[in-house]
Every structure is written in C-alpha cells, then in structure tokens.
Symmetry: D3
Subunit: 227 residues, 6 copies
C-alpha cells in the first residue's frame, strides 16, 4: 500500500517561495523521480516598499533553480502582494487560485497549514479549500496540509489549530535533494539554531521518519481523501 | 489516485459481531470484489448470564453468513467476554489481538472509534493501536477508524472524542451488499427510526457520499498513514 | 420537556438565501405551525459582476416563495454584497445586523456555523454573536448554530471548527415542507450526488433523526442558553 | 423561553454525596419550588477501611438533611464503594444506575462532568450516558453535565476534557438555599481559600451569572437535547 | 518557585484601554510593587464618528490615572482606530506593535486572548504573536494570554477557542488595587450583574484563586515559555 | 526570566525506568548542575512472567547508573507491576504515589503525558494529578508533562490528547549528558530509525530547540503553574 503509487499529478500551493520546499520538498522530489507531474503555485510575490525589488528578483531565480533541482514540472506565479493578502478581495484570490488549479487538475493537492502564524498562509489555505470543494467527482482525490518551519510552530498551537500529523511520506531517498534545493535559497537559509537552518530541517525529517520507523519523512495533516 | 488500489490485505477489528458490517461492510465488499484479502477479527463473544447462549450461537451463524456474503476471506474469533472487557487484563487482550494481527499482516487496518459509547470499543481501539506501533517497517501502512451506528454518536461527542471523518471510500457499487449483509443479522436489525435500521444505514451512506460527490460512501478518521 | 414550546419569536440569520432552508427549514415550519413568529434575516445579495442581476432577482422571488411556504412571518434583506463580506467594514455589518435583530427581539436565535467554508458564513456568525452579547437580560435566551449542506462539511473539520451537534429538533412532521420549500429554489437544487440534492437533504434529516430516535430531525450546536 | 418551564421530572446523578449540591443545588431548589419532581441518585458510599463508618453515617444524615432543605422528592442510594468504582464491573454499575433511572423516568438528566479529576466522576458520567442512549423516544429529552468545585478544575483541562459551559440556569432566587444546603454538610465545608468554601461557591455563582447578565447562575455543558 | 521573581520587564498589550486592568491589573500592581518595570501598549483609540471625541479624551485621562494607581512605568498609545482594526493593513499594525515592543524588550509579554469576541482582540493577539516569533534568543521568555470580562466568555467557547487557564498569579495583595484602578474608569464600570461590574471582577479573582488555594488570582493561558 | 532559577526541588514521575531520561533527562541534568535537588519516582517494575527477572534486574542497575550520571539526588521505586497498572486498585496507586511525593515536597513536578499510548502512562498521569490537587498552598507550584519517544506519538494524537508543547527548557549544555545517560540503558537503546535511537533523541532536541532559537531543548505541556 502506497499513497504516491497511484498519483498522476500533484499541485503544491505555496504562499511564498520556499514554503513548498520546507513543507514537501522531499515528497516532490520523490514524486518527480517516480514520473509524477509536480506543479507548484506560488501565490504571492514581494512588492516594494515592503520588499526590495532586487531581493524579490533574486528570490524568483532561487525558486526556479530549486524547482529545477527537485524536478518540478511547472511553476505558476500568481503574483499577489506578499504579507498583504489581507488587503486582497478574497473573491479575487479564490478565482485566481482556482483557475490555476483547474488547469493543472491535480489528484493530490498539498496546501499550507491553516494554523501557521503568517496570515498569508491562513488565507491561502482557505482559498485552496474553496477550490477543493467536492462539487464534482473530478477534484483532487486527496488534500494534505504540510508543515513549514518558522511558521507552523509559531502561532499558538493548542489555542489556534495545532499541526498534529497523521500522514507520513518516506523521503529517505530525497532528504538530501530537499536540503540541496533549500540551500539554493541563499537568501532564506539561516544558521543554527534558527528553524530555517539546515540542522532544523534535517532534525524534523529524522523525527518525522522515526515516528513511523523510516530514516526520513515529511509529515502532513490529512484534510480529505476520497477513495 | 485510489486508496484501495495498492492494498493487498485488510484486517477489520470488530469489538462485537456486526460492528464491522455497520462500519465498513461496503468497503470490505468492494475490496473483496477487487481481489483484496479481507480478514475480520471479532474480539468478544456474548457469555451467560449477560447473554443467552442460544442468542450467542445464533449471532455467530449470522456473522459467518454475513461475512460470506461480503466476501470475507477469514473470520477470527478471540472470544473475550462481551460487555466485560474492562474485566480483562489489558496485557492479555493486547497479546491476543496482536498475535492475530501479526498472522494476518494487513497493510490496511480498520478499527472502531475511540469515542464510541461502548467501553469495549474504546478498549479495542487502544489494543489495536498498541499492535500498530511503528516498531518495524512492516506494520500496517494505514490505520483508519470506522463509525458504528448506535455507538459513535451516543457518547458525548465534542466533550469526548468526536468522529470527524476525513477519509471517504466510495461504496456506490456495494451499498446494497452491505445492507443485505446487515439484514442477515436478523437479531440486530431494528425498525426505523432506530440508528440500527436499514433507513439509517442507507441515509448515512448517502450523506457520507454526498459530502464527496459520490452516491454512497463509508467515512473514516485517518489515524496514521505511511507512504 | 420541549425546546420550542416556550419560544415566542425566532430569528434566523442567513448569509445567503436558502441557507436558512437547508439549515433549519423544518424547524421554522414546525415553529410557524405552532404559532411562533419566525423571522429571517438575509444578510447578503448577489451583485454584479460577481452575480448576474437577473439571477439575483430570480433568487429573491424564490426566497420569498419558499418563506411563504414555510410560514415565515417576515423576511429582512440587509443587502450586503455576497461573497464579498470581507470587503465590508465589520462595524457596518455589526451595526446593521444588530439593528435588525433589536427590532425583532427573538428569544431563539439561529445562526450559521462558524466553521462553514464560506467566509460570509464565518463573518455572519461573528456579527450575530456580537449582537447576542448578554449585556442586558433581554437578549435571545438561546443561540443555536445550524448546519448547511455544501458549506459545513467542506472546510477542514477537526482542524477548523467541526460541527458536532448536541441539539436535535424533531421535524418528522415538516421534513416534506422543508424539501418542498428548498425545491422552490429551482436555481439552487442540484441532482444527486451533490450535497444540495433532495436525496442528501433527506438523508441528513433521517440520520439526524435516527441519532435521537426520531424519524427526521435538524441538528444544531448549542452556543448559549440561559434558563 | 425557559429551559425549566416544561420539565416534569429531574434526575441528578451524584458520584458522592454533596456533588449534586455543589453542581446544581440552586437549580434543584428552583425546580422543586416550581413543582418539578427532583430525584437524586447517589452512586457510591464510603466504605471501611478507606472511609470510617461513623463519618459515612454522618454524611448520609447530612445528605438527607440537605436534600430536605432543597426540596428533593426522593434520594436513591446505590451504595457502590466510593473511590473504588474502578474495581466494580462496569456492567454491574450500568445495570444498577439504569434500573434506578428507568424508574424515575426523568426528562432532564443532570450528570457529573467526564473531565472531573475523580475517576468515580468519569465512570459515573459514562454509566449515565449508557442509560441515556436514545434507543426509544421516551428517554430524557435533555442531558446536561454540571461542574463540581474541587473536581472539575483539577484534572488538566485543555489536555483532558475542559468544562466549557454553554447552558446557564438562573439561581438568583435560590443561591442562598444552595449555600445553606451545602453548609449542612458540616464535614465537607472548608474555609477559604479552598474550592469547597462558601466564598468559592458564591464567587462561582456570581461569575456564571454575570456571564449571562444574571445575579447568580449555575453553568452546564449541553450533552444532548431533543426538542 | 515563582513565575514573577526573575522577571525584569513586563509588556501588556491592550486592544482598548481597560482591557489590561480587567485582564491583569492585579499582576501588574504586584509586579510594579516588586520593582518590575511594567509597560502597557494601548493599541487603539476611539475615533469619531464611532466614538465621541469627548468620551475618548475622558477615557484617556482615566487610563493614565488607573495606570498611575497600578504603578505602570510607561503607557504607549498606538492610536489605531478602535472597533476598526479589520480596516487596517495587517503589515502596518504588525510593524507598529513590533516597533513598540522592540523598544521595551519585555521578558514577560501579556496579550489578549485570541478567542475573545471583539475582532480587535483577535487581531491584536495575532500581531503580538508575530512580534514574539523566536527568531533570536532575545525575545520575551514567556507569553501569556489574559482573560477579559465582557470579551472572553462571549464568543462561542468550545467552538471558537476557549480560555482554559493553566497559569495562576496570586493577587491576594493587589486585588483591591486592581478594583480601585478599574473603578477609576468611571465610564466603563457597570452595575451588577454586568460582567464589567465590581462584583464580577471580585468573583472572578476569588474563583481563580480558589482553584489554586489562593485568596485571589488572575488566570492566564500559557502560550509559550522558554527556560 | 528563567523557569528553573527559583526551583528548589524537582520530582519526576516515571511509569517505567528510562521514561524520565527520554522525557526530561537534559532538564534534570541542568537542574542538578545548578544545585537543584532532583528526585525520580519509578512507579513500576517488570515482573515475571511478563518480564524476565534477569532483565528486570539489569534494567534496575542501568537506571541507577543513568541517574548517577544525570545527578539525580534520589530514586524512589514503587514497584507496581509494569504493563499491568490497569489491574491495580487506583486508590492503592494514588496512595502510594502521593505518599512518596509528600515526602519529597517538590515545587516542580514532571509527569508523563496523558495521551501516551501506554496505559501505564495514562494511569500514572492521573495518579500524579490527584496528588497535585491544590488543597493546600504547599503543593508543587508547577506541573509539566514531558514527552516520551516511542509513547507520545503513537496513540492517535488529535483524536486522543495531542502533545502540543508550550514550555521549552534549554538543554544545550546537557544534551550530551542526556544521550550518555540514555545510552547506559543498553537494553533499551535501539538502532535508527527507531524512535528510541540516539538519532531520534538528538533530532527531537534539535527541533524543540530550534522552535525557540536554542541549540537543544526539551519540550513540555504546561499543566498548571501558580505564581
């Protein structure tokens, strides 16, 4: 029995570039290696004055480079303003994200967690769920929420929604590819003991793996699966 | 993508006979039809004076008949005392259930829900989880909890654990087989509006199906999946 | 003992027309038949370009027709923009809804569920609760949240708030009136296996009824009751 | 609208004598004054060597005296061993409690809270729920859980089930009777700042009242109501 | 062992003036008396037309007077519009609050509760948590959420986040100072049985105290502590 | 501000030997080095036929050796039967544990988590909480629950209580001592990728540390703190 073995197309929704690598870079790499078509939708882009244009351009290059390393089939940029999704009419965001997802037609949809501290993550989760409403039989068969270091542990888990994983994907063969891909985000890697450090990423993979007797894993919260 | 398509062997743990039909009779029938080996472990047996021997014997015949209709490969009776599992040393129960499951080696394990009102259900859930500890890489890849009419809605959901399903298995093709199998438990079927009535079983299947745009479904809570 | 028997006036707050029928059409019909004054407040109206004007006009006619069938005493339209409540200053919405409720002076207040997937539902729930703050002894004695097919099961129950009902109102005598009223929303009824189909509505009523040994029921989450 | 106005018979299940006064003494007094028949079932009795016989006898006299003050119609003693319900076969307890409740036929059933620290409370809650299963239409229409000072706040609320009240019964007219009745348990009243002190009882009533704009109230968690 | 004994600087974030007194006035007074530097950040100010200017001016005077009584070292006004934080870009609020907190460098941070009914409270909680992200080792070592009468009990606890306290600070010596300080908000004190009455404040302190065998206490939810 | 700096005496309650090292070995080592008196109460002992006597004897030696390495002041063995606490009258266990804790008089009490898969852990948690009831002002000022690899992640977190930590103790200086102490349990250390492997222990410490910008930490759930 194997969750990935019958998947044809995966869509990962990332509020900001690098969330998708932190959350499911190993899973994407494993899926791509197995011939599954992996798409990433990056919802926001940093915009002046909150973000410097040169930094934004650099991050975009880093993103594409990381995605190439992982084997992402296509990266879709929606270019909503980063750290300002609260200022975007929700119907605009819902429409834009749903249009992108309808083109991809994923059977596995990976979304950020609604309890992440960044409001952009919370909003993107909700927008993705609006698309995933089972109003036909052709939507994604499975929706999983991934965890993002520096986001998922930093709101108030237990008071706000806590990430309590129940799906674990073995990334023993791709943890190194994940770390290499994240390392290519030179602007985003931090030294230990930051949660965005290589040490923390590796520790999380080791821990999530050990919980299910695997050498490395990424963990998810099952949102909905239809079988 | 399809949860059942890579399963080889299913074990369903039933505290009492007919729980397995109410909870996942449609899933079992669909799996059996697809060539998956389906095992049922019935943990308890009614014993005098709490239960009349003639009734107990009759239920056992009904059980085997229902299982034959569903296509169950093998039914395993552990024969612990029904409605008295609180009087059984937990290590005895754990050992016995674990031995049975180790022989079956299921990759999909279906268990009753820990929030069911019957203490036997709560105890059996815990015993099954003890077996499912990931102490090797060969345990069940997926553990799901099923819902049982006349048990799952009757404790105090929201104060005690609530059954909030996130996995839905399409039983459009086997809902009739499920109802036929349950009907063979002549001692257990009740007239409307009892939760153990045919009307209630069909309504639940319709509702769980509609939630995911299917004509009939059985719903589960994901306990743990390793992929 | 009977929850409805001492109620004088009910107010149902509906984010969009038909939510009130799906959620508590049977309860409203039973209450109206018993001489209780039933009011509905429809918070939003579809507005171009998100919604076509001709469709909006038609839905309004359907709403009034359905309410007449149910025996609603008065329907109050607040006309905030549908699917765009996130763009409305919250103090405007709070003020408008509170003004309407203050005129009605209900002793039973029925509101949508805060965990519904539609942001409009979440916002309306909060606005209704602001009005219901017990700042005097004359507010509604009881506030219940109703469930809405195609909304309540489709966010991420368990991660987001789950609808776990603890109040059940017998609608055995009015389930047919409820379905007739919903059927008059010709634009909104969907064929099976959609959650907005007649089959799903009937299945939900049968299931909620069976849980409490009634032939049909509507279920609610108790928010607050003062006795 | 008034929760008590259509009640005919109340049964309060108390694990130990005085739980019922702490939890719902004011409600019982108000109900009795309104002509409602109020029954109390005391599940356990202290037994040597855990409890001294003379103390046990004295507490029984205090109980009957307190019940007379409150206007209790009848007090039923089941005499299971106090602080030792874990040693009683659950089927015995279920049978005994159910027999007592079947004779009373209450339409309102008040039970201790499942998250109380005392195991006896947890077990009694479950036994009461077994009786309250809606297997006919004649069971209690409403089941509420009450809070008990020195029990309900002392397990690990938030990790174990938390008492989050949503039903408030006005005891402005009977708070003094409640305190007088509790004071008659001379063996059980403690000086401030103990939770079993008169000050704490009065503070709780004032706080629960203020939450709903009443001078004094008892608070409950709605378990199930059928209307 | 004593939570306050090693604290050097406390920052209390108050959505509106008087929240800080209701939530932690006794703790502030005790801390100030012990030589701890206590800062209050008042996030909003009433603005016409929602609030009359003369009232706003008066409340500001009351605030400063109350803070002087309590021994607050400094009060910081951010002057965002009251009851309209939903209209403020979140990045503006986050930036402003974070700037203020960075200047104070508290080791203990007290914030309103995310489940309070007032949207301003929910938003301020999130903004404070954004600042408190552990991106260096110099942030606040402890973050606690306080409860506010007339806010914390009035959303839908149990459906929305419930305030389930696990930290209790003894205010036996300062409950009178707290009540005196709150009384100086002449515009805000209400007569019994309002939750904002002196009776309710005192009852809450007595109850929270009794829960931990103290004569008076303020209760908090632990958000995060690093030791 | 520092949680440990005002602690005088710590008691750690361990259901089985090595739980205390896995859960809080680093904290104990740091506390002992700071001059705090650290006590461990080991509740059970393996007994034939469930456990071989020679193994039990060996584990006891390993325990004492590990405790010496950590700097434990005293180890108290209660010798209840391991994996059979469900067969022990709860009042016996409560009495025995409470007697031991009353002698130690800890101001910081560390207990296993109630959601651990092992029934012994659940029972010990409850027994420790019974002792910790605030019936005087002299009980432990702080009670924290620790997490145990191979126990805490293996029940059904989210359905059963989930370990959602909110207290983090920096063990950067003692993570090596913790691992050395656990390594001395030669019978208990497992190779990767078992949760009881050195790799998993180190990964957990790194992750819990990174969450609060520390190089290593142990995480806890705050049960109750009085300050």
């Amino acid at each position: 029995m194997n969750l990935l073995s019958t998947v044809r197309r995966i869509a990962v929704v990332a509020p900001h570039p690098d969330d998708e690598i932190l959350g499911c870079g190993g899973t994407m790499a494993r899926a791509a290696a197995a011939g599954i078509e992996v798409h990433v939708i990056v919802v926001t882009r940093g915009q002046p004055p909150l973000f410097e244009q040169s930094l934004v351009d650099r991050i975009r290059r880093e993103t594409l480079h990381a995605h190439a390393m992982i084997g992402v089939a296509d990266t879709h940029f929606l270019d909503f303003p980063a750290a300002a999704l609260d200022q975007v009419p929700r119907s605009d965001l819902n429409h834009s994200l749903s249009t992108a997802l309808s083109r991809i037609e994923p059977d596995l949809l990976l979304v950020p967690f609604v309890g992440d501290i960044h409001l952009d993550h919370q909003i993107v989760f909700n927008a993705a769920m609006v698309h995933a409403r089972p109003r036909t039989s052709s939507g994604p068969a499975c929706v999983l929420a991934y965890e993002t270091l520096s986001e998922t542990n930093w709101l108030a888990p237990g008071v706000t929604p806590a990430f309590i994983p129940n799906v674990f994907i073995d990334i023993s063969t791709t943890i190194d590819a994940k770390i290499a891909a994240f390392s290519s985000f030179e602007t985003q890697v931090k030294p230990s003991p930051d949660e965005r450090s290589i040490d923390a990423i590796r520790a999380l993979a080791t821990l999530r793996g050990a919980t299910v007797y695997r050498h490395a894993a990424e963990a998810f919260v099952m949102i909905r699966q239809v079988g």
